[in-house]
Symmetry: C2
Subunit: 391 residues, 2 copies
């Protein structure tokens, strides 16, 4: 059900011909209210696509009526003309829906540096408007896929004494996944009745702990966008903590699905850092490990090469993370292969071939803070997909 699990939303996904395969490539999500609350977070890349520039303005007032998304073209690095294309897309969508263009979020994904074929996109928007349905969440999730092999959706329903409310979402992304944010588009909807400030705070807390801690290949996109829309249709008014918990659960599920479908990966790797003096330090150390091509290639070869973990940990500056290199411990899938910076248990006790998931635990012995960052292994298929597929 994805974005239409919550009450007050309709969605659609249609094929406008932007993809040469003829697969669905235009998605639309509409908030029918009564509220039109919206919040969004965007890529921290300084090179941003036209739809990111546009949508930042749209959500600045905490309101949005619709999100129109296309795959088959990122509309990034397309100059002033590309921005006009986004503007036209928003106006066309808004006119068809009877809402304001200034309340219409636009998201695009696909190849950078190519103009969108507007003569195909705008009729596709019309078709999506005509196809809008309270059951359209799955179609929308299909239409935003690029190299994804499966659509990613998640739903959390919260039952309380006074009634139930729901958070549902969809996401796309299978490569160029990196912090701040992963390469991805995601729309999350809720029928909770919350104000814009609450929606914004909940979304930022949720993405910081989930999407921001997925680092498939260290490459940050120009188009990343996560939008949260609240319709208020359930009549339920959760607290900030309650909303944050539900949005975090949906975001965690979606981001875990991104890792599981990462381009060409054969392993999902959770790098957990404990004993850090701060959460930021734990994240920095975990990220250093998730960015090590050598370690990621070793995992592909089912080699529990803890030396490559330590050499990655050692690249984090002292100003960022406190630790004494001679006290570092590393476990892989529960086997403590490195103890006090030296040789621990026999690395042959670690069987990486048995399952897709790999757990790396690094203990810095410098405090109580922890963090987990997810990544994937570096495989032949990753190289193949990203050398043959031009995006």
């Amino acid at each position: 059900m994805s974005v239409t699990a919550a009450q007050g939303f309709r969605a659609a996904g249609t094929a406008a011909g932007l993809k040469s395969t003829g697969k669905p490539d235009v998605a639309l999500v509409v908030n029918d209210g009564p509220l039109d609350v919206a919040a969004a977070v965007f890529t921290s890349n300084r090179v941003v696509a036209a739809p990111v520039t546009w949508s930042r303005q749209v959500v600045a007032d905490g309101r949005a009526s619709a999100v129109v998304l296309n795959s088959g073209g990122a509309n990034a690095c397309t100059g002033p003309e590309g921005f006009l294309d986004t503007h036209r897309t928003a106006e066309h969508t808004a006119d068809a829906l009877g809402v304001s263009a200034g309340d219409t979020v636009v998201c695009s994904t696909g190849l950078i540096g190519v103009r969108l074929p507007m003569e195909k996109l705008l009729p596709g928007v019309d078709a999506a408007v005509a196809a809008l349905s309270a059951d359209g969440g799955s179609d929308a999730a299909q239409a935003i896929m690029t190299t994804d092999t499966v659509a990613k959706t998640a739903v959390v329903t919260v039952e309380t004494a006074s009634g139930t409310w729901t958070v549902g979402g969809m996401a796309k992304g299978a490569g160029m996944l990196a912090p701040g944010l992963a390469t991805m588009l995601s729309v999350i909807t809720t029928d909770a009745a919350v104000d814009a400030a609450t929606a914004d705070a909940a979304l930022r807390a949720a993405t910081t702990a989930t999407f921001d801690r997925v680092d498939s290949d260290g490459c940050m996109s120009t188009n990343d966008t996560v939008v949260l829309l609240a319709s208020g249709a359930s009549g339920q008014s959760p607290t900030l903590d309650e909303l944050t918990a539900a949005v975090t659960e949906v975001s965690a599920s979606l981001s875990r699905q991104l890792v599981a479908d990462a381009e060409g990966a054969s392993h999902d790797i959770a790098v957990e850092v404990v004993g850090a003096h701060s959460e930021d330090a734990a994240v920095a150390v975990a990220r250093a490990v998730t960015r090590s091509n050598l370690f990621k290639a070793a995992v592909f070869g089912n080699d529990p090469n803890w030396g490559r973990v330590l050499s990655a940990v050692g690249t984090v500056p002292e100003s960022v993370a406190a630790f004494d290199a001679t006290t570092l411990d590393v476990s892989i899938n529960g086997v403590q292969v490195c103890r006090a910076g030296g040789v621990g248990e026999d690395r042959d006790l670690v069987d990486l071939a048995a399952q897709r998931e790999v757990r790396v635990l690094v203990d810095l012995h410098a405090g109580d803070a922890t963090a987990i960052v997810w990544t994937n292994d570096l495989t032949h298929d990753y190289v193949h997909e990203n050398s043959a597929y031009s995006s």
Copy 2:
């Protein structure tokens, strides 16, 4: 001739059985003077191998008599016992040469997290001492190779009105090549008569501009060491600038050879950033591009994917490099594929298949500073070599 091109040096390379292949794995370089000036730079990794800890102490006084090097084991993450192994190696070498252990630099390279087989290494040192020769430079260069497919050596001879002096060097390294330093060992010798401060200043200037700007795979080693030894045997006393120029030329040649022999690479990529407000900014932007797996995979596929260059440039924080994303220009092999942050010349004009070398030029339009960082493409063979070879 490598490290024995300059007068006053002997060297050797022998097989001690550290490598299962039976190939040479112990190298020795001896400075016969009259001077025993030495300088060295080491990895900036906080996790360092025992020989790095040892050798930092050795060169602290600006003097060294010998460098003993082994491949077939990094002696990294081996605890206090590993440090004792390094100490024993230095003492054993010094005793055989009749010098002080405190003047004996030790370098190791190979698998992290495994103790060295001292019962093989020490007899290997004896054999190397017995084989020392003024023609031994090539043998030494062979003995420090790990996954290198060719030995790397370089020689510069400077002729002046008063006589000639020479700088020669050897290096190893084919993977785990990253800034501060690349994964590598290098010994550079000169028969110039210079003091320790001059040697140190020349070496630091040379490595900053050469070895530090090689970033094959973003992975920083625990063992990187570059040692400069000066014998004074030529009787010539160049200025700091003259020595820096010659050492830089040797270092540039050696680091270029490292890139050309990088594990599994099919392209050498020079990322040149111009128009930066500072050299540090130029290096940071260039490094962001050389660390993009997506761009490196695209180059492997002979795809001039400038969108991946721009998305990498955009990850550099404003506090590090000033630029306006809408004025960025990118050329690949002379074709300006991106102009003012948008589409430039037709990307199909770029032929990456024709040659191994790729030149990427990024103009930030924010100043006059420039820098070049070298990297390689991301290939199937890189993944294969680093998943199958455990180092």
